[in-house]
């Protein structure tokens, strides 16, 4: 959660507050944020094992084994977004997050893989509540049932041909990572989709 006058959230302009159903219910709680640190680490198809070894050492943690898996440590989330690609998200401002790219570049040589700073390229929309699955089902053509989408896994989907990365945190809790230039509109879409069930917007980063 980035707080600084140097930043302007792409979500700015969305009013916070409640839009309940006629019966006063709130079925979905939404919050939207910029991200402190987002780093993509990738390699070519012959470089996977070397990259995994180096990256795991650099991060000091196990890496997700397969595309769609995630591993969370205290201060960061590592997502396997492709056979040769990882996305690392950190919310800890004290993690020298802005330097994550530089830190990883010290460990990952150019002939092992690539490190790309996407901290401004992605934002996050968080949904939780008894109707968050119904809300997301309006937008994304993916199977959100528990067996098909277990907790802590990620799925890449899209609405209106715009990619979104869904991370299931719990039975009724999701993070959706969106492109920053689409973020304002995508939050509007989520809020509109949730309107039927009653929705609260708690923050806009």
């Amino acid at each position: 959660m980035v707080k600084s006058s140097l930043y302007r959230s792409p979500f700015a302009g969305h009013p916070l507050g409640d839009s309940p159903t006629r019966g006063g219910d709130i079925g979905v709680t939404v919050s939207a944020d910029m991200l402190t640190s987002v780093t993509q680490v990738s390699t070519w198809h012959t470089g996977v094992s070397a990259l995994c070894e180096v990256l795991g050492t650099a991060l000091g943690q196990a890496l997700p084994a397969q595309t769609g898996d995630t591993v969370r440590s205290a201060d960061r989330l590592v997502m396997r977004t492709g056979p040769e690609e990882f996305l690392i998200v950190s919310d800890d401002v004290s993690d020298k997050a802005a330097d994550m790219t530089a830190l990883l570049r010290q460990s990952i040589a150019a002939d092992v893989g690539s490190v790309t700073n996407l901290s401004h390229a992605r934002c996050r929309i968080h949904l939780e509540g008894p109707k968050c699955v119904d809300t997301l089902s309006k937008l994304f053509p993916i199977d959100l049932r528990d067996p098909a989408f277990p907790q802590q896994e990620i799925r890449l989907s899209g609405h209106h041909h715009v990619p979104s990365l869904l991370h299931r945190l719990g039975a009724q809790s999701f993070n959706v990572y969106v492109f920053s230039t689409y973020a304002f509109d995508q939050l509007a879409t989520v809020l509109d989709a949730a309107r039927e069930y009653g929705v609260t917007l708690k923050s806009t980063g």
Binding site: T116, N117, D143, D185, D192, E196
Partner: protein, 1005 residues
């Protein structure tokens, strides 16, 4: 149970039915208030009040009444609602009554009781099948266009509102292990079996409640008791989701089913996001289709009179709605099912005669009928029905099944209701959507599904089951098979279904029967007004194929898709052609099974949510400071700023002058940006671009073109080298996604050996172009720690820098390059800092009057310099066409090089880039005008066309770019520009495409 003169209509029983008699429902019908009960349909309430005449037929405007009780209703189409919420062509048999409902009849003026257009009936010889190919053809060739206006007004259905739809619609992407379509006995049994296997089940039912045909049985019947228990079992399983008011309208690839779910009356609330209809796109592991069967009429003269109804419908109105459709009824049938309906009506107090054209009937049925007081006449059929606004008489005559004809004089009976049953037609539509032709079963006299895709199963009367018990078992078996396919065994066996009154329900060994003679108007397709005579005429005129029969007569082409008419028509056609029905074949049912609203199909993608919207970091600033935004694909970009003029024309010229004379700033964040990294990145770019990039120094940028594989220009852009192994590529806004896909394709498929990664960073960076003679001054003031001298940052040089002071923590990338032809710099800032840097530059640029400029000025400035954009790189042009052929390296291969040398692309007479300016007063070039040489005839494709135009503020005249045969070799010549759309021709002079500062002194300064 007998009819009561009180409570919800004079033809309402005092008890029974599934209606809730403690809750009345009032609505208006043609402005008149009617009262019924909760659970009624409009049709039920109308019949309860003795209203049978509810429509006029499509062509002949004949009086028409309610025929059916469900979605197969062909006649009773109504317009629901008023104003912007008006919706035509809704069958009264499916409209749920509710407070505030307003329905009215349609296609009749001034009323259905007295319709002026009934004169069409007298003119019916003019309106036979295919009349528009044969009549109304003279006296001139254009005469039809005159007649058509009146014909269209005279015939038709309802009228839709022209106002924006006030309701809301939505989508739902659903996934389920097993989808069961239909909640009759077979469907419910399938759902129960699947639930017991542990499958996740979705059951869709088009009616307002689950039960299917059981809903038309008496509420105290064994079938109804079974229904209640089964629904309880399904609920208890926790594994079955039942969607009612949900019609499966189409079956598509990948086990995908389209379902439209209607909200219950009164629940839709657009302001609070509650949709009126929801489109479910359901993806299923397996599908069990238990779609039932639809009763078909008998075909005889006068079978379209109000008060002539399907027998099953009569039974449904009694048992489900407590409505007696008539008090003096004749049932005419060729199968067993009608006996139950006759008995139900008799028990409700009606006088009932049943004519069964078969010689024998089951003893149980005869006994049941006798007990109920129904007079049964075997070997008897109906030969006509008469009456105008209501059937008054019908004639019953002896019928010999073995001879297939009426054998004696008929006897006329006074009636107010004729209930006909010509057999049952399985609902095979969904399998037809998969391109599977149905097959004919002679034992059923019906078509059944001709097969199923893998993972699809059929059950119940759709497959020809004859009894309730068989239907239950078939549903169970289908689910067992589906579960087995998915590796899930079903626990237990099929629960016992009630067997009382379990005689053969509907299918017959007797085919459709047609009586009457030519000219007696025996209708086959009620909705499309197609009679036996029309089919005979089509045959006479040589339309042998069933496909031609359909289209020539319009049979089956109405909103009901011929649900009650198809098989009868095929039987008539078969008789005419002296073929078996299976040899005649069927037409193809296509989605939607029932009419689907455009609103539901569009879902939430309307108005503000029509498409995704993409905003730059400075979007709000633009809107707050007079930016007039336009759509550039999904992007919103400022076209011009109101602070520079009251009109676009004034403003963009002012903005051009700002850039040429002082300094301006444009938001160029929409440019595509791609991060290219890896040991082989330089080699990769060398292969992608036409010009060399392998030796690009670190800290320098280079302009390049990339081609498609066929040699046509794909895109241009600037790529900067950040390190030995890292590059920062920019693309045009429009091609950003395509270029990214292209690079991915090359790396994954064509050159997988290259150690390169690409990542889109379009969203990572906001970008602004500071352009004009004072641009360096502005940047020096804004970023005092950066050396902006030409030595430090030459043209096409770049610097990454961490800002200090109040902007500490912000890193910017500055590239000195120009699109306008002026000294210019592109400043890239991380997106969330974008607005900050934009405002910082404006603040620091005040001494030089730095102001923003929009897309129109941006596009015009580049025309003055002859820089190409998508108007020139339009997917048909080569490097040479745009005068850029010299950029192509001769020293290294690159993508698209081989085919750009192909004969067609290497022709020397291809149109190439030129500049154009007026050669006479008023000769303002217009985009798209076709260019001709001075002595050409002005016709055909000409010698080229104008690609871009603007008014040059610097030159004080209109100018343009174009592609012209001969290109710059024709500089100085005059050409003709012809714009057929505008109706203009004018003379232009060919000039160099670079209008300003050809030596580049301004941007090199």
């Amino acid at each position: 149970m007998s009819a009561s003169p009180d409570s919800g209509g004079a033809f309402r029983t005092t008890q029974g039915g599934r209606i809730r008699r403690d809750q009345t429902r009032t609505f208006t019908y043609n402005g008149k208030t009617l009262t019924g009960f909760a659970g009624d349909t409009v049709a039920a309430t109308l019949l309860a009040h003795g209203i049978h005449l509810v429509a006029r037929s499509f062509k002949y405007h004949r009086p028409r009444g309610i025929v059916a009780a469900g979605i197969e209703e062909p006649n009773a189409l109504m317009t629901v609602g008023t104003g912007s919420a008006q919706e035509p062509n809704i069958a009264a048999t499916v409209i749920e009554t509710h407070a505030g409902l307003a329905v009215r009849t349609q296609n009749a003026w001034p009323s259905v009781e007295f319709d002026a257009m009934a004169i069409n009936s007298l003119l019916s010889p003019l309106f036979v099948a295919g009349f528009y190919y044969k009549t109304f053809m003279g006296p001139t060739r254009k005469a039809w266009m005159f007649y058509e206006h009146f014909i269209r007004k005279a015939a038709g259905l309802g009228v839709a509102s022209q106002k924006p739809d006030p309701d809301r619609y939505d989508w739902h992407h659903g996934f389920t292990d097993l989808l069961v379509i239909g909640s009759g006995p077979a469907g419910l049994s399938a759902a129960l079996a699947a639930a017991r296997s542990g499958m996740d089940v979705t059951l869709v039912e088009q009616d307002v409640e689950a039960g299917g045909s059981v809903l038309n049985q008496p509420v105290d019947s064994p079938q109804a008791i079974w229904l209640a228990q089964t629904l309880a079992d399904l609920a208890a399983s926790g594994r079955v989701r039942i969607l009612t008011r949900a019609t499966a309208f189409g079956l598509y690839d990948g086990n995908t089913v389209g379902v439209i779910e209607r909200s219950a009356p009164g629940l839709a609330d657009a302001a609070n996001g509650v949709p009126r209809q929801r489109l479910h796109i359901l993806r299923a592991g397996s599908i069990v289709m238990a779609c039932g069967a639809i009763e078909r009429p008998l075909v005889f003269p006068g079978n379209d009179r109000p008060g002539v109804m399907l027998a099953d419908a009569v039974g449904a109105y009694v048992n489900r709605y407590g409505v007696v459709a008539g008090r003096r009824a004749v049932f005419a049938t060729n199968n067993d099912a009608a006996y139950f309906d006759a008995v139900a009506l008799a028990k409700a107090g009606a006088q009932v005669t049943l004519a069964d054209l078969r010689q024998h009937a089951q003893l149980e049925l005869l006994a049941m009928a006798k007990t109920a007081g129904v007079e049964v006449r075997l070997s008897t059929t109906v030969t006509n029905a008469k009456g105008s606004h209501r059937v008054k008489t019908c004639t019953l005559a002896p019928y010999d099944l073995s001879q297939g004809r009426v054998t004696g004089a008929g006897v006329t009976h006074a009636v107010d209701l004729v209930a006909m049953s010509g057999g049952w037609t399985p609902t095979v539509h969904l399998t037809s959507h998969r391109g599977i032709k149905p097959t004919y079963r002679a034992d059923l006299c019906s078509f059944v599904p001709g097969g199923f895709d893998r993972g699809h199963f059929g059950a119940g009367s759709m497959m020809g089951t004859q009894t309730f018990t068989q239907a239950v078992q078939s549903g169970w078996d289908a689910a067992v098979q589906a579960a087995s396919d998915m590796g899930k065994p079903v626990a237990g066996s099929c629960p016992q279904a009630p067997v009382q009154a379990d005689v053969n329900l509907g299918f017959v060994a007797v085919g459709p029967m047609v009586s009457g003679k030519a000219g007696d108007k025996s209708f086959v397709d009620f909705q499309s007004d197609v009679s036996v005579d029309d089919i005979a005429l089509a045959h006479l005129e040589g339309y042998q194929s069933v496909e031609h029969l359909k289209r020539y007569t319009t049979l089956g082409m109405g909103t009901d898709q011929g649900k009650t008419s198809n098989l009868n028509a095929l039987a008539i056609m078969a008789e005419k052609r002296r073929l078996d029905i299976q040899q005649v074949g069927t037409t193809t049912f296509r989605p939607p099974y029932t009419p689907a609203t455009i609103g539901a199909l569009a879902g939430r993608s309307v108005r503000a949510h029509l498409q995704a919207v993409r905003r730059t970091a400075m979007h709000d600033w633009h809107e707050a400071h007079g930016g007039v935004m336009m759509e550039a694909g999904p992007w919103k970009r400022p076209l011009w700023f109101r602070t520079h003029g009251n009109t676009l024309s004034d403003a963009y010229k002012a903005e051009m002058a700002i850039v040429r004379e002082q300094v301006g700033m444009a938001d160029v964040s929409t440019l595509g940006k791609i991060d290219v990294q890896g040991p082989d990145a330089a080699e990769f770019l060398n292969r992608v671009y036409v010009n060399g990039f392998a030796k690009l120094p670190i800290g320098k940028a280079r302009y390049g073109f990339m081609l498609r594989e066929d040699g046509i220009v794909m895109d241009d852009g600037t790529t900067s080298r950040l390190s030995e192994t890292e590059f920062f590529m920019t693309t045009t806004t429009a091609q950003a996604g395509k270029v990214m896909s292209h690079l991915e394709f090359l790396l994954q498929v064509v050159w997988p050996e290259l150690r390169v990664t690409v990542a889109s960073v379009s969203d990572q960076w906001a970008a602004m172009s500071v352009a004009g003679p004072k641009s360096r001054d502005v940047l020096k003031a804004a970023f005092p720690d950066v050396d902006f001298s030409t030595e430090a940052i030459p043209h096409m040089g770049l610097v990454d820098t961490d800002l200090t002071g109040a902007l500490a923590g912000v890193r910017v990338r500055i590239i000195r390059l120009t699109f306008s032809g002026e000294l210019a710099y592109e400043v890239y800032a991380p997106t969330h800092h974008g607005n900050l840097i934009w405002e910082h530059l404006l603040e620091q640029g005040k001494p030089w009057n730095l102001r923003p400029y929009g897309l129109e000025a941006l596009g015009s400035l580049r025309i003055e310099k002859g820089h190409v954009v998508g108007s020139e790189m339009d997917g048909r042009t080569t490097l040479d066409d745009m005068g850029m052929g010299k950029m192509a390296s001769k020293l290294k291969p690159f993508w698209g090089d081989a085919l750009r040398r192909s004969d067609n692309l290497a022709r020397t007479d291809r149109p190439t880039l030129v500049g154009l300016e007026p050669a006479e007063e008023g000769a303002t070039p217009s985009n798209g005008a076709i260019l001709f040489f001075a002595d050409d005839a002005i016709k055909g494709h000409g010698r080229g066309h104008i690609t871009s135009t603007t008014y040059s503020q610097s030159l004080g005249k209109a100018i343009g770019l174009g592609l012209l045969q001969g290109g710059t070799s024709r500089i100085g010549q005059v050409v003709i520009a012809a714009s057929p759309v505008q109706g203009r021709q004018y003379r232009l002079k060919v000039v160099d495409p670079c209008f300003l500062d050809a030596e580049g002194e301004r941007y090199r300064g």
